[in-house]
Symmetry: C3
Subunit: 327 residues, 3 copies
C-alpha cells in the first residue's frame, strides 16, 4: 500500500478500529482470537479483568443508542477502565465550541480512547485523523458507512458455530442499501474468505456495489436461502416505509420476513442472526427469533467479548505510545 | 404453600425482592440483621466492601426518581458492584423493541440484577417472571403496589429505636389508598408481629382492605395518635388535590398535618418517620420534621444499609447460580 | 480576623473551596504545590491514585457544563473516589423538595463532598453554610462571583511557565465585569503578589472595583499588552451583544480580539491563556489560539491536577472529621 492505513500504527498493529474494510485477514483473525479469550469472562462470578485499569475511555455519542452505549460501557468497565459518556447535545459544542476543540480538550484531560457514534458517514475517520498520538478511536456506527464491532461480533458468532469461513454459504437479507452493519459484514466476510456470499432483498434496497465482492444477488428469498449455513437478517428502519422505497410492512414481511417456512430451505443446522433490536413480524417472525436456530442473544454476549478484545488491543500496544503535545 | 413463592429460590432463600407480602418473619428478620452489619459501613472512612465486585447491576427506571436511583447506585457502588442506569424513555424500547427483548439483551450482556421502578403495579413481578435463572430483580417501587426496600428501611429504623415489634403501637397517617410505601409497611409490620397498628386519614384515602390486617382505622388524628410509639407520615401527592378526593392543602394540614400539638398526644419518646421527600406545611410541620423526635434523616441512612443488605443477599446465594442459556 | 473564615476548619486547613478571596498566600501556594505532585499522574500509564478510595463525591450542577463536570468527574475518579452526578432539573427538588432537604438527604447517604455549579452568585457559600460537619463543598462556578479552581489552574499554569509571581506583568483582557473567572484570578494574583496587574477592555465591561487591587485599567489593547509576560483572554458571552453593552462581534474583535499583531507588543516569550471554550474570531484569532505562545490546552491538563489537589486536600484532613448527626 502506498498510503499508510490510518487504522494501523507504524508497527502495523491496530490503533483505531473504524471499519472492517482495508484490514487484513490476519488483523480480523487476531480480533476473533483475542475475543475468544474474553468470551468466558462474562460467565464468571467476578467479571472483571484489570487490563485497562487507569485508562480513560470517553463515549462520544452524537446519535443516541442506549444499547450500543451500554455494551461499550460494560466492555470498558469489565476491562477496569474508567468511562465517561458525553451527551453531545448538551455539551459545550452547543456553546459554539468546535468539535476539534472539544476533542483536544478531552485529550488534554488525558483521555485514552474515543468511542464515536455519529449520524454522518465518515465522522469516526475525521476524528481519528485529528486525535493526538496517544489516543485511539473506535467507530460505534457512522451513518450508512460502518459498524465494525457489530460486523466482527457477527464473524465471531459465525466462527464459533461453523468453524472455517471457506466452507460456508452466508445470506444477508434486507435493507442492505442503508445498513452500516451489512457493509461491515460484507467486507469482513470477503476478507475472511467466505465460501459463498448472497445478498437478498428488494431491488430498491440493494446497492450495485455488492457485485464487486462476488456476492450473488437474489430478489426471491426462498431461492436465496436455499442451502445456506448462515442467515443474517437486517433490521428494517421503519422510516423507509414513508418514502417510495418500500411497500407496506405486511407486504415486506410476506416477501422478505424470515418465517419457519422460508428458513426450511436453508441447511437444517443453519443459524439465524440479527443485529437487534428486532422488529417482530416485520423482518422476522417471533417463532424464528425465539426458535432453536436463532443465535441472536449469543450475538449480544459475543458483542461484549469482541468489544473487550478491540479495546484491549488498541490500548494495549507497546512501544508506540507517547503523550504527544500534552506532556 | 402450594404455589412456589417467586421471591424465593428452590432452597427457600431470597432471590428477588418484590414485595414484603408473602415473606416469612424469618426472611424479614434476616434482612434486618444483615442490614445491621452494613449500618456502620457508611460512617467509615473507606465506605466500600468488596462483596459484589465484578457483578453488574442495572437500574431500569421507567419512572424518574433521582433520590431512589441515587440510593440504589450508592448501595451498589459501596458493595463494589458495577452499575448501569438506563433511562428507558430514550432507550431502544422507543425504537419498537419490546421490554422482554431489552431484558434478554441485558441478560445476554451478563447483567446480574435489575432494580426496577415503574408506574404500573405489578411491573417488577412481570419482569421477575421472565428473567434468566442467574438474574435477580429488586422492586424499587411499582405503581400503588409496593416499595419493599422503603418498607424494610422503616422496619429497620423502628427496630433500632424500639426493639421488639410486639410491644409497640404504630400509626400510619395520610393517603394510604395510593401509597405503595404504606402497603409495604403494613405487610411487614403484620408479619413482624406489631403490637398494634393504626391507620389514620380521611375516609376517601383509606382502602377497605386494611381491616384484614387487624388495623384500627381513625379519621380523627388526635385520637389515632394517642399513646403511639411510632408515627409514620405518608407523603401527600399534591396531584390528588385536583380530583375530588381531598379538600385544600391548608384544610388537609389542619386535619392531618403533623404538628407539635398533635404529636403531644403520642408517647413522649415516640419517633416520627416520613419516606421523603417531605412537603413542609402540607403533611408535616417543619418544627416536627426538624424536631427532636424526627428520625427522617436516619431513615435515609438506614435505606442504604437495607439496600446493601438485600442486594448482597440475593446475589450472594450459593449453589443456585447458573448462567442459563447464555453460557 | 474576627469572623472565622468559612473555608477553613478550626485548625486553619482548607475545608471548603469557594473562592480565592480571603485565603492566604500560604493556602494558595499549598494548592499549587500539591497540584504539582498530581501533574504527572495524567501522563502515566495507570492514571489512578487511591487517595480518596471509598469517598463519595456528588456533583450538584444546577447549571449545565459538560466540560467542567467532566474534569471534576475525571479528577475524582483518578483519586479513586465514587462519583454521583445529579441533574437538578429532574431531581426531587422539582417535586417540591427544598434544596436544603436534598442536601441533608445526600449527607445522610454519607456523601463526603458536594461540587456545586449554580447560576446564582453565592450559591456555593449558602450550601457550605448548611452542610454537616463531615462534608466539604467545592465551588465549580457560581454566577458572576467565583470559579476558584479555574483561577488556581491559571495560577498553576503561570507559575510553571514564569516561576515567581513578583517579577511578572499579567494582563486580563475582555469582559471582566461578568467574569467569575476574572474575579477569582484577580484575587489570586493579588494574594500571590503579582508584579503588575493590568485590566484591558471596553469601559462598559470593567467594574470600578478593580482599582482596589492596584490594577491598571487600559481601554487600548496595544498599550495594555505592552511588555506583559502573561495574557489572559476571557471568553466573551455572546449574549452580551444583545444588550447595549457591546458593539458587533467584528468590531469587538477589531478592538479587543487577540491577534498576532497585538500580541507582538507583549514580551516575546509571553504566554497566552483562555479558560475555554474559545470563540475563534471573536475574542481570539485561531492563529494565536493554536500558535506557539498558547498554553490553552496545558490549562486543561493543569485543571485536572489542581482539582485533584483541592479535592484531596479538603477530604484528606485529619482529626477534624466527624460523622455529625448521622452517626
Amino acid at each position: 500500500m502506498s498510503k499508510p492505513n490510518i487504522q494501523l500504527d507504524s508497527n502495523g498493529r491496530l490503533r483505531h478500529f473504524l471499519t472492517t474494510e482495508g484490514l487484513s485477514r490476519q488483523h480480523l483473525t487476531e480480533i476473533l482470537d483475542v475475543a475468544e479469550s474474553f468470551a468466558t469472562v462474562g460467565g464468571k462470578s467476578v467479571k472483571k479483568v484489570p487490563l485497562l485499569r487507569g485508562k480513560t475511555i470517553v463515549n462520544l455519542f452524537f446519535e443516541t443508542s442506549t444499547r450500543t452505549r451500554t455494551t461499550f460501557e460494560l466492555a470498558a468497565t469489565r476491562l477496569s477502565a474508567d468511562v465517561q459518556s458525553i451527551n453531545i447535545a448538551t455539551s459545550a459544542t452547543s456553546k459554539g465550541e468546535s468539535l476539534l476543540d472539544m476533542l483536544h480538550n478531552l485529550e488534554a484531560m488525558h483521555c485514552d480512547m474515543f468511542v464515536v457514534r455519529h449520524a454522518d458517514s465518515g465522522a469516526a475517520h475525521f476524528i481519528a485523523q485529528h486525535v493526538a498520538p496517544h489516543v485511539s478511536v473506535i467507530n460505534a456506527g457512522d451513518g450508512r458507512h460502518a459498524h465494525p464491532t457489530q460486523g466482527m461480533l457477527d464473524m465471531f458468532t459465525i466462527r464459533r458455530h461453523k468453524g472455517d469461513f471457506a466452507n460456508i454459504k452466508v445470506a444477508i437479507v434486507g435493507d442492505v442499501l442503508h445498513s452500516r452493519v451489512a457493509r461491515s459484514e460484507i467486507h469482513a466476510l470477503n476478507t475472511l474468505g467466505v465460501g459463498e456470499l448472497r445478498i437478498i432483498g428488494p431491488k430498491t434496497l440493494i446497492p450495485p456495489s455488492v457485485n464487486q465482492f462476488g456476492a450473488q444477488v437474489f430478489h426471491d428469498m426462498e431461492r436465496g436461502l436455499d442451502g445456506v449455513d448462515v442467515v443474517i437478517m437486517l433490521r428494517l428502519q421503519k422510516e423507509r416505509m414513508k418514502g417510495a422505497l418500500l411497500p407496506s410492512e405486511s407486504e415486506y414481511f410476506t416477501r422478505y420476513g424470515l418465517t419457519e417456512e422460508k428458513l426450511a430451505v436453508a441447511k437444517p443446522d443453519a443459524i439465524v442472526m440479527h443485529p437487534g433490536p428486532i422488529n417482530r413480524g416485520v423482518e422476522i417472525a417471533s417463532s424464528v427469533a425465539d426458535g432453536p436456530q436463532s443465535v441472536i442473544l449469543e450475538q449480544v454476549s459475543n458483542g461484549l467479548a469482541v468489544r473487550m478484545a478491540v479495546m484491549s488491543m488498541v490500548l494495549g500496544r507497546q512501544g508506540e505510545k507517547s503523550n504527544g503535545k500534552e506532556g
